[in-house]
C-alpha cells in the first residue's frame, strides 16, 4: 500500500466535523504556515514540494500562485474548482463530502500565500450533499477562527463563499467558471488576459482544483521534502485516481504517481470484470483511449502523455472486450454534444454532427464513406475550437480509429457491431 497524503484521514469516523478533524492534527498545517512562513516563503515552499495542479493540466501550483501580482491595487480572489463533471471522475465529491475541513485548510493556506481575502468554492450544482457539508464546515471553521477575520490572531482574514453551479460541464473550464460565478452565461473567455492577471470581476484570481488544495495541509504538516520524495522525477506526490468501468472494485484510490495502470486495475480494482481488458481511458472522458498493451504505463503526467493520451482528471475507465467501441464513442460524444456551450462553431455544430453520424451507424445505416467523414469532421473540430471541449469530443473517436478501426468498418459495411457479427456467425 502506498503512502496516503490526501485520503489519510478519510476513514476516521466523524472526520467531517471540526472537532474530530482538529483532534487528528487538523488545521496544524495552517497554524504552521501562519506562524513560520511569510507569504513569499510559503509560495517557495509549495514550489519546492513539486505539487502540480490536479484539475487536468498539471500546472505547477506554486508557480501559478507566483504569477499573481503582489500589489495590484484591486482585490484578489481564489476560486476553488469543484465543478467536477468529467465522466468517470468522482474524487472531489469524496474529498468535499468526507474531508471538507481539509479543503478549507488548504484554501486558507493558499489565500495566505497569495494574499487573498475572499475565496469562492464553485461546487457542481448536483453535489447538494457536498454543498451542505461545506456550508456547515465553513460555519464551524469561522466559529473556531480558522476562517473569518484575523485568523488565529494574525492580521490575515479570509471569507469563504460556497457557490453552486447550475449544471454545465463547461463551467469546470476556469474562465467559464469565472463567467458563471459573475452571473453571466457560462461561456469560456478569451485568454489572455489570464485569470492570474484579470480573472473574477477583472481582478487577479487563482483557480485551483479541490484535490490540489486538499493536498496542502499534509504538505505543511509533513514537509515539502517529504512530499517531493513521493512520486516520480517530474510528477511528485500522490494522486487520487477514480477507477470505474468494468472492474471488480471500482472506487477512488490514492496512489503515488508512477504506479502503473496494471497496479491500479489488478491490485486495487480487483481485475477486469466480465471479460478481457479491451481499452482503458486513463484521464476522464476527454482523454484518448489506450489498450491492454499500455497496462504497464505509469499513471503520471509524462508517461501517459508519452503513450498518446493524457492523465487529465485522473479518472481511469476500464472497458472490457464485450463492449462495442463505436457505441462507447457514441455514448461519450453524446455527453460532449449535450455539454457543448455553443459559443464556437466547430464544437457546437461538430459534436452534434459526430453524434448524428455515430447514431446512424449504430442504428445500422452506416455507409462506407462515413469512416472518412468521421475522421474528417474530427479533424475539422480538432485545434479549431475556442476551448478544449471540442478537442475532447474527438479524442475518443480518433483513438478508437487508431486501435479499433475494424469496429467502425464493420458498422459501415455490415450495419451492425463487430461483436454482433461474430455472434451471428457462431450461430450459423
Amino acid at each position: 500500500m502506498s503512502t496516503l497524503v490526501i485520503t489519510e484521514l478519510m476513514d476516521i469516523e466523524g472526520i467531517d466535523g471540526i472537532d474530530t478533524y482538529v483532534k487528528n492534527k487538523g488545521y496544524e498545517g495552517l497554524k504552521k504556515a501562519l506562524k513560520e512562513y511569510t507569504p513569499d516563503e510559503l509560495i517557495e515552499y509549495v514550489k519546492a514540494s513539486g505539487l502540480r495542479g490536479r484539475g487536468g493540466a498539471g500546472f505547477p501550483t506554486g508557480l501559478k500562485w507566483s504569477f499573481v501580482p503582489k500589489n495590484p491595487g484591486k482585490p484578489k480572489y481564489l476560486c476553488v474548482n469543484c465543478d467536477e463533471s468529467e465522466p468517470g471522475t468522482c474524487k472531489d465529491r469524496d474529498m468535499v463530502t468526507y474531508l471538507p475541513h481539509q479543503l478549507l485548510e488548504g484554501i486558507a493556506i493558499c489565500c495566505y500565500a497569495v494574499g487573498i481575502n475572499q475565496a469562492f468554492i464553485y461546487i457542481r450544482g448536483e453535489m447538494l450533499e457536498g454543498y451542505e457539508i461545506l456550508e456547515k464546515a465553513v460555519e464551524e471553521a469561522v466559529q473556531r477562527n480558522f476562517l473569518g477575520d484575523n485568523i488565529l490572531g494574525t492580521d490575515f482574514s479570509l471569507d469563504v463563499v460556497v457557490h453552486r453551479g447550475a449544471g454545465a460541464y463547461i463551467c469546470g473550464e476556469e474562465s467559464a467558471l469565472l463567467s458563471s460565478l459573475e452571473g453571466e452565461r457560462g461561456f469560456p473567455r478569451l485568454k489572455p488576459p489570464f485569470p492570474a492577471v484579470e480573472g473574477l470581476y477583472a481582478c487577479p484570481t487563482v483557480i485551483n482544483n479541490v484535490e490540489t488544495l486538499s493536498t496542502l495541509p499534509a504538505i505543511m504538516r509533513k514537509g515539502a521534502e517529504w512530499y517531493s520524495s513521493l512520486g516520480t522525477e517530474r510528477s511528485k506526490g500522490t494522486r487520487v485516481l477514480c477507477l470505474s468501468g468494468h472492474v471488480n472494485k471500482p472506487g477512488n484510490y490514492e496512489l503515488e504517481l508512477g504506479a502503473s495502470m496494471r497496479h491500479l486495475i489488478e491490485e486495487c480494482g480487483g481485475g477486469v470484470m466480465g471479460g478481457e481488458l479491451k481499452a482503458i481511458i486513463p484521464g476522464g472522458a476527454s482523454a484518448p483511449m489506450l489498450t491492454k498493451e499500455h497496462l504497464d504505463v505509469a499513471l503520471d503526467f509524462e508517461a501517459i502523455a508519452a503513450a498518446g493520451s493524457m492523465a487529465g482528471s485522473g479518472a481511469v475507465i476500464v472497458i472490457n472486450d464485450k463492449t462495442c467501441i463505436v457505441k462507447t464513442c457514441l455514448n461519450l460524444d453524446q455527453f460532449f454534444e449535450e455539454e457543448s456551450c455553443g459559443k464556437c462553431t466547430p464544437c457546437r455544430e461538430g459534436t452534434k454532427w459526430l453524434v448524428d453520424i455515430l447514431t446512424r451507424m449504430v442504428n445500422g445505416h452506416g455507409r462506407p464513406e462515413d469512416i472518412d467523414l468521421l475522421k474528417s469532421v474530427c479533424n475539422n473540430i480538432l485545434g479549431n475550437t475556442f476551448c478544449p471541449l471540442g478537442d475532447s469530443a474527438t479524442s475518443c473517436i480518433m483513438s478508437a480509429f487508431k486501435y479499433f478501426p475494424e469496429e467502425f468498418e464493420h458498422y459501415a459495411h455490415h450495419g451492425c457491431s463487430i461483436l454482433e457479427g461474430k455472434k451471428e456467425m457462431a450461430k450459423s
Binding site: 491595487g73 484591486k74 454545465a168 452565461r185 478569451l190 477583472a202 454534444e337 449535450e338 455539454e339 457543448s340 456551450c341 455553443g342 459559443k343 464556437c344 462553431t345 466547430p346 457546437r348 455544430e349 461538430g350 459534436t351 452534434k352 454532427w353 448524428d356 453520424i357 446512424r360 467523414l373 474528417s376 479533424n379 475539422n380 485545434g383 479549431n384 475550437t385 475556442f386
Partner: protein, 832 residues
C-alpha cells in the same frame, strides 16, 4: 514611435503595424481579406465563429483566430496556407450543415456574408445527410424585428450589441450547445430604441426588419449617402432605393457623429416618404372652404396676388427639416424681394445668437471624464446621442445628471434633482473656489452603475470633487436653454476652462437644421455688419429686425408663408388673414391654410445640413420628387421669378455656391467641399473601398487608414458602411485564389455583362430610364450587344449568375454552345 510598431509578416508581405492591432485589421490594411462573422470593429472581439482562423508559425495551437489575436513581434501569419484554407472551409461547412439554405426567399441574399464567404471559401457540396435542426420559421422578437432562428449562425453580434453598445436588456442566447437560439428573456419583447441596428449587424438573414421583409432584393437597389432628417445630430445614413422607392435606411459609418449606429426613430423615418397621406399636388381653398387641387401656376398666382401692400405684414416661417439652400432661397424671397424683415426658422427661440461659439462635439463623449447633462434629456430628444454617451461611459466618463430626471439616470453616477439653473449656479460657484485638497492617487476601477443597478448619489461634495478632478468635461444642454435660465452656460464653461473642442458645451437643438438656418441669418435679429456682401448683392433688402416665430404663430402678420413647419400647432396660435403652407403631410396648419403646396422630402433633392455641433454635411438626392412636390428652394425661386427677379440660381449646387459667396458664416462653400472625405464628414460610398484592388504589396508604406473603421472590402450587408458589393457597374473585389469571372468569360470568348459599354436597350414602352438605372427587362436575343467574339446564339453569362459559382472547364465550352444553340429562348439580360 518605432517602439510602438510591430513587424509582422502576412502571407509573405512584411509590414509594421501599431502594437495591439488585431491580425484581421492588420491584414485588411494591406488588402488581404480574412472573413469574419462574429468580429465587429465596434465591439469587443469574442472569437466565437472561428471562420477567421489563420495559421501562425511557432504556436502551440497553430490555428489562431485573427479577430482575437493581436500582433506579436516577428509573427509569421499565413491566411492562404493549406491549413488555413482547410480550417476556413471546415468552419463554413459546420455553419451550413444546419442552415436552411433558403437563399431564394431570404432578404439577405445578395448581401449575405454567409453566402459570399461560402462562395469564396466554402466547399462546393455538402456531406451532411442527417436531419437539419428546425425551428418555427419566423418569430417576431420585437415591434420591428423578426427572427429566423434556422438561419442564425450564433455569431452573437446582436446579443453583444444589446449588452455592450446599447447597454440594456435585449436579445439573449437561450439554451446551449446545438440547441442555442437567439431570443428574449421570457415574456419580454425586444423593443429597444436601437433595435434596428441588430438587423444591420446580422451577417445572415436571421434578423430582418418587419418593414423590409420580402420588399426588395439588394441587387435591385441603389444606395445613396444621406443625412438623417429626424434629429439635429446629422447622423449619416445610407438610403436604399428600389425602383425610385426608398425601401430602407441604414447607418453609414461616421466616427465623428454616429459611430455607425442608427436609432429606430431615424431608421424607420423613410416610411413617411411613401405614406398615403403625402401632399402631392398644390391646393387652394375654394369658396366652400374646401381644398381643391390646382396647378402650380394657379397656386403661385394666388399667392402672389395675396401679398399685402405693407411688406412687414408678410411672415416667412421656415421648418428646420429644410436644407441650407432652402433657407437661403426663402431668405432671398423674404428679405430680398418681398422686403419683409420677418424670415425666421421655427426653432429660432433656442438660438444663442451668433456670438456664442460652442466647442462641444458629439464625439467629445468618447474621451470625456465627465458628461454633465444639465437640465437636458438627450435620451428622449436625441436617441443617437444616447449611444454616444454610453460609449463615453464605457471608456471612462462619469455621467452626472443635474436638473430634471433624464431617462439616462439609470446609468448616472451622480444625480441631482432640482431646478437646473439654480443648481448650475451653485455648482459653478463651488467649482470656482480655490482648493488645496490633494486628490487621492489610487482610483479603483469604477463599478459600472448599469451593473450595480444604478449608483446614484446625493453627495454634493463627492460630485464637486469628481468634476474638479476631471480634465475633459462635456456639458450637454438641450432645447430652449434660455427658457431654462441657462443662457450663460457657454460663458460659464469658458470661465471654467472647459471649452477645448471637442469638449465644452454641446447644445442639442430641436429640429434638424436649425444651426444651418442660423448660419444664414434666419433669425429675427439681422446682423448687418456680418452680411454686407448680401446687402450689396440684394439691393434694397430689408435689414430690420423682425418678428419671432412665436409672434408669427400668434397671427401678428396679415400673411404667413409656412414652409415645412406647423405654426398653428403652437400654443396660442391664430390663423393670419392669409395662410400659405408648403408641407409634406397634412397637419393642423393644413386644415386652415388658404394655399397648400406639396413639399419634397429630404431624400428628394440635394441639400446641405449643418448638425447641432456644427458639422456641415451633404445629403444626396435618392429619388425623384413624388407627385408634383417641389423642394422649398424651388418654390421660393418660382415666387422670386414672379416678383420680377432674374438671374436666380437654377439648382441646389448653384444655390449653395451663392450661399458660399454671400454668407460670411459659410464663406467659400461649394459642393466641391464634399468631394474630399475627411475634410467634411460627408463621404459617398467609396468606390475604392468597395472594389479595392490589391495594391503592390511589396512597397506598402505604413500609414493610418483613411477611415479607421470598416472598409468593407471583404464584407457586405452586415457592415456598418454599406451593403451590396454588387453595385451595377462596379467591379467586385478580386477574390484571392479564385479567378475573376470576367477572366473566365474572356477565356471562353464570352461577353461579360460588366464589360459591356452600353446597357442593353430597353424594349418599347419600357419604364422611364434614370441615370445608370436599368429596370429589369427581358431583352430579346437579337438586341444590340457590342460586337465581340461571342459564339452565336449564346447568352449565358458565366460567373455572375445569382451567387452561383459556375466553373466551366474550357473543354466543355463547345458542348455548352451546342446546347445553347438548341435553346433559342431568351435570357434575362440585365439581371445580376
Amino acid at each position: 514611435m518605432a517602439d510602438d510598431l510591430v513587424n509582422i509578416t502576412i502571407d509573405g508581405h512584411q509590414m509594421a503595424v501599431p502594437k495591439g492591432t488585431l491580425l484581421v485589421e492588420a491584414a485588411r490594411q494591406i488588402g488581404i481579406e480574412i472573413p469574419v462573422y462574429c468580429y465587429h470593429p465596434k465591439m469587443k472581439p469574442v472569437g466565437a465563429c472561428r471562420v477567421c482562423l489563420v495559421e501562425v508559425e511557432n504556436q502551440r495551437r497553430p490555428m489562431m483566430p485573427a479577430c482575437t489575436t493581436t500582433v506579436m513581434p516577428d509573427m509569421v501569419v499565413h491566411t492562404r496556407s493549406d491549413n488555413a484554407v482547410e480550417a476556413r472551409g471546415a468552419v463554413l461547412e459546420f455553419l451550413l450543415i444546419n442552415h436552411p439554405l433558403d437563399c431564394p426567399v431570404c432578404d439577405r441574399a445578395g448581401e449575405c456574408d454567409l453566402q459570399d464567404f461560402t462562395q469564396k471559401y466554402g466547399n462546393g457540396n455538402t456531406r451532411f445527410i442527417e436531419q437539419k435542426r428546425h425551428f418555427a420559421k419566423s418569430k417576431q422578437v420585437g415591434k420591428n424585428v423578426v427572427l429566423d432562428r434556422e438561419r442564425c449562425i450564433m455569431c452573437q453580434r446582436c446579443v453583444r450589441f444589446c449588452e455592450e453598445i446599447a447597454m440594456e436588456e435585449g436579445l439573449v442566447i437561450v439554451d446551449r450547445g446545438n440547441r442555442s437560439e437567439i431570443g428574449t428573456f421570457e415574456g419580454r419583447s425586444f423593443d429597444s430604441k436601437f433595435s434596428g441596428n441588430v438587423i444591420e449587424l446580422c451577417p445572415v438573414g436571421a434578423l430582418t426588419a418587419k418593414t423590409y421583409r420580402f420588399e426588395s432584393r439588394p441587387w435591385e437597389q441603389q444606395h445613396y449617402a444621406g443625412i438623417c432628417n429626424v434629429s439635429s445630430l446629422g447622423v449619416n445614413i445610407t438610403v436604399d432605393v428600389r425602383y425610385d422607392e426608398v425601401v430602407r435606411l441604414r447607418g453609414r459609418m461616421n466616427d465623428e457623429i454616429d459611430d455607425g449606429w442608427l436609432s429606430d426613430k431615424c431608421r424607420y423615418s423613410h416610411l413617411a416618404i411613401h405614406s398615403d397621406d403625402r401632399i402631392l399636388s398644390p391646393m387652394v381653398r375654394n369658396d366652400q372652404g374646401q381644398l381643391t387641387k390646382v396647378s402650380w401656376a394657379a397656386a403661385l398666382e394666388r399667392i402672389v396676388q395675396a401679398f399685402p401692400e405693407n411688406a412687414s405684414q408678410i411672415g416667412l416661417a421656415v421648418g428646420t427639416r429644410l436644407s441650407v439652400e432652402d433657407g437661403h432661397m426663402l431668405l432671398r424671397l423674404g428679405r430680398g424681394l418681398l422686403k419683409t424683415p420677418n424670415v425666421v426658422h421655427e426653432h429660432e427661440a433656442e438660438s444663442l445668437g451668433t456670438n456664442t461659439t460652442l466647442t462641444g462635439r458629439v464625439k467629445g463623449c468618447d474621451a470625456a471624464d465627465v458628461i454633465l447633462c444639465l437640465g437636458s434629456d438627450p435620451a428622449k430628444s436625441h436617441h443617437d446621442f444616447e449611444l454616444r454617451i454610453k460609449k463615453g461611459l464605457r471608456n471612462k466618463a462619469r455621467l452626472i445628471c443635474i436638473g430634471e430626471q433624464p431617462a439616462l439616470v439609470g446609468y448616472a453616477d451622480y444625480q441631482v434633482i432640482g431646478v437646473a439653473s439654480e443648481l448650475w449656479s451653485k455648482l459653478k460657484k463651488e467649482l470656482k473656489k480655490e482648493t488645496t485638497e490633494e486628490e487621492s492617487g489610487l482610483r479603483f476601477p469604477k463599478p459600472r452603475p448599469w451593473e450595480a443597478g444604478g449608483e446614484t448619489s446625493q453627495d454634493w461634495d463627492a460630485l464637486v470633487k469628481e468634476i474638479r478632478g476631471a480634465e475633459n468635461v462635456l456639458v450637454v444642454v438641450s432645447g430652449d436653454i434660455a427658457g431654462q435660465g441657462l443662457q450663460d452656460v457657454a460663458r460659464d464653461v469658458e470661465d471654467l476652462g472647459w471649452n477645448t473642442a471637442p469638449h465644452g458645451v454641446i447644445h442639442l437643438r430641436s429640429g434638424v437644421n436649425p444651426v444651418g438656418h442660423e448660419s444664414i441669418g434666419l433669425i429675427p435679429e439681422w446682423d448687418e455688419d456680418g452680411n454686407q456682401a448680401l446687402a450689396k448683392a440684394w439691393e434694397g433688402m430689408n435689414t430690420d429686425s423682425g418678428l419671432s416665430y412665436a409672434e408669427m404663430c400668434r397671427g401678428k402678420t396679415e400673411m404667413l408663408l409656412a414652409f415645412g413647419c406647423n405654426p398653428l400647432a403652437q400654443p396660442e396660435s391664430k390663423k393670419p388673414k392669409f395662410l400659405v403652407q408648403a408641407a409634406t403631410h397634412p397637419d393642423e396648419t393644413t386644415e386652415k391654410a388658404d394655399v397648400v403646396l406639396p413639399l419634397s422630402m429630404w431624400v428628394e433633392y440635394n441639400g446641405v445640413y449643418i448638425s447641432t455641433d456644427g458639422t456641415v454635411q451633404f445629403n444626396r438626392q435618392a429619388i425623384l420628387p413624388l407627385g408634383e412636390a417641389q423642394p422649398a428652394w424651388s418654390i421660393a425661386r418660382e415666387l422670386c421669378l414672379r416678383l420680377g427677379a432674374s438671374d436666380l440660381p437654377e439648382n441646389p449646387r448653384a444655390v449653395y455656391s451663392e450661399v458660399g459667396s454671400l454668407h460670411a458664416a459659410l464663406a467659400g462653400a461649394t459642393y466641391k467641399d464634399f468631394q474630399t472625405p475627411g475634410q467634411y464628414h460627408w463621404s459617398y460610398p467609396q468606390q475604392a473601398d468597395l472594389g479595392m484592388p490589391r495594391p503592390d504589396l511589396s512597397a506598402i508604406p505604413v500609414k493610418e487608414p483613411d477611415m479607421p473603421m470598416w472598409m468593407p472590402a471583404p464584407l457586405t450587408g452586415s457592415t456598418v458602411e454599406g451593403a451590396g458589393r454588387l453595385h451595377r457597374g462596379q467591379t467586385p473585389p478580386p477574390v484571392p485564389g479564385q479567378r475573376d469571372p470576367r477572366e473566365i468569360a474572356k477565356l471562353l470568348g464570352l461577353n461579360h455583362p460588366m464589360d459591356r459599354t452600353a446597357p442593353p436597350a430597353l424594349t418599347a414602352g419600357g419604364a422611364e430610364k434614370k441615370d445608370g438605372y436599368i429596370p429589369l427587362r427581358v431583352v430579346p436575343s437579337t438586341s444590340a450587344e457590342p460586337a465581340g467574339p461571342t459564339p452565336a446564339g449564346r447568352h449565358h453569362e458565366i460567373g455572375v449568375g445569382p451567387r452561383r459559382r459556375v466553373a466551366v472547364p474550357v473543354a466543355q465550352t463547345a458542348l455548352l454552345e451546342a446546347s445553347d444553340a438548341a435553346d433559342n429562348t431568351t435570357e434575362d439580360g440585365g439581371e445580376e
